[in-house]
């Protein structure tokens, strides 16, 4: 990510997620990521690792839940055991962390921001909290891209 884009992302995140995020290795395209803490209505805080690809914003970031780990389902099974799963909107895991579905890669464009990715993942997390309460699959709450 170039410096101008990084400054734009920081400006937006400072406005909406102040003190809840950190850019890690922001100037190293091979390992740059955004560490962000999101809180759901249930009071739980989740830490996400939003991996920033070297050609961001033209390419879409990948998102992993790094805390809590493991992420359990309604039946107390590790969500990783069923990943990837369309019903639960999760992709293949990495380093023991669940990867979240968010935007559709084919619909991604460079006007999208890390803030929007984080918001989308916050919606996923609220659906996940409802899954824990009801046992409904996450796709009961979240639709798939058409």
């Amino acid at each position: 990510m170039d410096k101008a884009r990084l400054n734009l992302e920081i400006e937006i995140l400072e406005r909406y997620f102040p003190r809840r995020y950190a850019f890690i290795y922001p100037h190293d395209p091979s390992r740059s990521y955004l560490d962000v803490g999101l809180r759901t209505k249930s009071g739980r805080t989740f830490r996400l690792k939003i991996s920033i690809p070297s050609d961001y914003p033209n390419a879409m970031p990948s998102v992993y839940v790094v805390h809590p780990k493991p992420l359990l389902d309604f039946s107390n099974n590790n969500l990783i055991s069923i990943a990837p799963s369309g019903k639960m909107h999760v992709l293949s895991p990495s380093d023991g962390c669940i990867q979240l579905c968010h935007f559709d890669r084919s619909l991604w464009h460079s006007d999208m921001t890390l803030y929007k990715v984080a918001l989308k993942c916050l919606v996923w997390l609220e659906a996940y909290q409802n899954h824990l309460l009801t046992g409904n699959d996450i796709d009961y709450y979240l639709r798939h891209c058409h």
Partner: protein
């Protein structure tokens, strides 16, 4: 812990997933860092972001 508000948000998401209009908005309030449900006529933080479209656009299908 607030199961009631969690369930209300879940119900709203489920209704939107079925294309049912409720008249409510799902918004992100930067003051609390949380999603909230705003009913018609209710006040909202002017800095809040409406998330309706982000939810309705759908989530990537695992392929």
């Amino acid at each position: 812990m607030n199961d009631k508000e969690t369930r209300e948000l879940g119900k709203e998401l489920a209704e939107r997933n079925r294309d049912n209009s409720t008249g409510n908005d799902i918004v992100f309030d930067p003051a609390t860092g949380e999603l909230i449900l705003v009913r018609p006529g209710e006040r909202r933080n002017p800095d809040s972001t409406t998330v309706n479209q982000i939810a309705e656009d759908g989530f990537a299908l695992y392929k």
